[in-house]
């Protein structure tokens, strides 16, 4: 039951990560298109700046659950490394609960914001004037998924036997910081 939940949450986070990556690629391509249109054709660029900014920003919130899944958000592990396995686990669970608290607060805050933008029909004030609920929806989706990801992590931590060595920890962190280098090594 629990493992079904955990893997379902993981799969959803991966799905959002794909969306986030695609948004990033789209942002890159649109920047290039904008340069081309402006420099080569000397034509108008109306929607590109808005699109690029909103796509890149949305990708941060949509990608965050996956980065949490991969233990990729950098933390300060000084205290953790000083502790014995049992108190270390307690500390980690406290840390995860705090993370959950923040994500839950932001889920509430971003849902309020999204709902207002949706029901009042807010637009971005520019010529293109995209509807604001579209980019703003990335926040409730991302923070909602972060909450689920945290719940899954806490469930796993409560269940798993005591283990974890600091070296493995650092490697996990390095995977997040500069994963490109490590993928080769891992194979």
């Amino acid at each position: 039951m629990i493992s079904a939940f955990v893997s379902a949450v993981g799969a959803l986070s991966r799905l959002l990560a794909i969306v986030a990556t695609l948004l990033l690629i789209a942002a890159m391509l649109v920047v290039c298109e904008m340069i081309l249109v402006r420099y080569v054709f000397r034509a108008a660029t109306i929607w590109q700046t808005d699109f690029v900014i909103f796509a890149a920003t949305a990708s941060v919130f949509l990608g965050a659950p996956y980065v949490l899944l991969k233990n990729g958000h950098v933390g300060v592990d000084v205290v953790e490394l000083l502790l014995k396995p049992r108190p270390r686990r307690v500390l980690r669970i406290i840390g995860a609960l705090c993370g959950l608290a923040f994500c839950a607060a932001m889920l509430a805050a971003s849902y309020i914001n999204f709902e207002e933008a949706w029901s009042a029909g807010w637009k971005h004030s520019s010529v293109w004037a995209p509807r604001l609920w579209i980019p703003l929806s990335a926040l409730p989706v991302g923070f909602g998924m972060l909450c689920l990801q945290y719940v899954a992590q806490i469930l796993v931590m409560l269940r798993e036997p005591l283990q974890a060595d600091p070296a493995a920890e650092h490697i996990a962190m390095a995977h997040a910081v500069a994963p490109h280098a490590l993928e080769e090594t891992a194979r």
């Binding site: 920047v31 690029v52 300060v76 205290v79 923040f102 309020i112 390095a174 280098a181």
Partner: protein, 438 residues
């Protein structure tokens, strides 16, 4: 509660949260939300989301994932190894030649990525095993990579300088130019130390016996062609009148991807998806910290802490160099615990007015701050470059890595000192290219 005591509470709360090892981004956010709710109750929830979103919804910030993408593309191709091998053929007869190849390769690679861990990983993957095979001590091998990697945020492009530019409303193009000469200077200083150290310890090994003919040396040059193409292309887009700096990052990323994919024939789905995936992960990590730091500085400002502290420091009657020394100390300590981006978004709004009021050049200060942040990248407990080396060379104990990078930390201190005596090293190039700063 007075601004000072609420500020202390906020910062104290942040440290307590950080101690749990939770993500820095969420610790910043939770401390901020807690303080804001205590101050004004739950209505503040109406603006939290906009504050985070608007904090990073900025065209200049878009360049961060783009420069990270450039780094990821080169790092996951054999290009780093080729660059390294070529430099080795040219430098192998110099004492400690491999260390020089390391540092040189890091410096060149820095011109293509805005991120230090990426530099570290790309060169270290090849450099560390090679050096250890040829008999260099593990500390020398890993230390030089850890330190060389830090050049990634000094030599443009640099994510750190972009964040500084946005936080202080200074010109990013100008900041990049200010980083060029100090970057070259620091590279040279690293190299001088490496040669001196190698001579002192008598590192000779079989390297000298291995002679390469000029033909052998020249034959490696085409292999570093792709690098030169990328650097030239990005510089052309940046300064050739095609795009603004924020846009050039996107063009640079696409160019790098095309060069890497074509030159190394990475025509399969997996490697390409890997490049994008890893770039997404690193940029999400950085940008999430920045978005949360927006909440944190909103809370500091809302509690009037920022203004109170700034005016208190500004009213201190101290010599400006004493002030600068104190600021440097603060940055060093902050850099030990936090990644560069977090330090800058949290402290720049506070320090910037103080520094400029004391008559220091904002572009010069950006470079001094960046070198401080470079130190932080190779000092425990949070040193992103250390994590990377730990992962690519798990057999080397952390103690050896730290011991090997310590001399480079001292070289960086020396560089800061030199910059204080000769600020022109940072300000001359931008002044030449763009006219005097405003």
């Amino acid at each position: 509660m007075s601004p000072v005591s609420s500020g202390l509470l906020l910062v104290g709360g942040l440290f307590a949260l950080l101690a749990t090892g939770m993500p820095i981004a969420f610790a910043l956010g939770l401390a901020a939300v807690g303080a804001l709710v205590l101050q004004g109750g739950f209505p503040i929830f109406y603006v939290l989301s906009e504050t985070m979103f608007a904090g990073i919804a900025n065209l200049a910030y878009v360049s961060i994932p783009m420069f990270v993408l450039m780094g990821a593309a080169v790092a996951s191709s054999p290009a780093g190894g080729d660059l390294y091998a070529s430099l080795d053929r040219w430098l192998n007869r110099v004492p400690g030649g491999l260390v020089l190849s390391n540092i040189g390769a890091c410096a060149i690679f820095s011109g293509m990525t805005g991120s230090s861990p990426a530099t570290c990983a790309a060169i270290g993957k090849m450099g560390i095993p090679e050096m250890m095979n040829r008999g260099y001590p593990a500390s020398v091998a890993t230390g030089s990579i850890a330190a060389g990697g830090t050049l990634g945020i000094l030599i443009p492009p640099s994510v750190t300088l972009i964040v500084y530019g946005i936080s202080t409303e200074t010109s990013i193009g100008r900041l990049f130019m200010a980083g060029v000469l100090p970057g070259i200077m620091l590279t040279a200083m690293f190299m001088v130390w490496a040669v001196f150290d190698a001579k002192r310890k008598g590192f000779e090994f079989g390297a000298r016996a291995m002679r390469y003919t000029l033909a052998q040396k020249l034959e490696t040059l085409p292999r570093i062609g792709p690098f030169l193409l990328i650097i030239a292309g990005t510089l052309y887009v940046l300064y050739g009148g095609i795009a603004t700096p924020s846009e050039a990052a996107g063009a640079g990323a696409l160019l790098t991807l095309l060069v890497v994919v074509i030159a190394y024939r990475l025509f399969r789905f997996r490697p390409i998806a890997g490049i994008f995936g890893s770039a997404m992960r690193e940029s999400v990590m950085i940008m999430m910290i920045m978005a949360a730091a927006e909440l944190f500085s909103f809370a500091l400002s809302s509690l009037f802490v920022t203004q109170t502290v700034a005016s208190a420091i500004a009213s201190l009657e101290v010599n400006r160099w004493v002030l600068m020394a104190v600021i440097n100390l603060f940055l060093l300590v902050a850099g030990m615990f936090l990644p560069p981006v977090a330090v800058i978004v949290m402290s720049a709004p506070l320090l910037f007015p103080i520094v400029t009021q004391a008559g220091f050049d904002p572009y010069w200060f950006a470079i001094v701050l960046t070198i401080n942040m470079e130190v932080g990248l190779i000092t425990p407990p949070v040193g992103l470059n250390l994590f990377v080396i730990n992962a690519i060379a798990p057999q080397v104990p952390t103690r050896d890595i730290l011991w090997g990078s310590l001399p480079y930390v001292l070289v960086m201190f020396l560089a800061i000192l030199i910059l204080c005596i000769f600020p022109e090293i940072a300000t001359w190039l931008p002044n030449q290219m763009m006219g005097a700063a405003t």
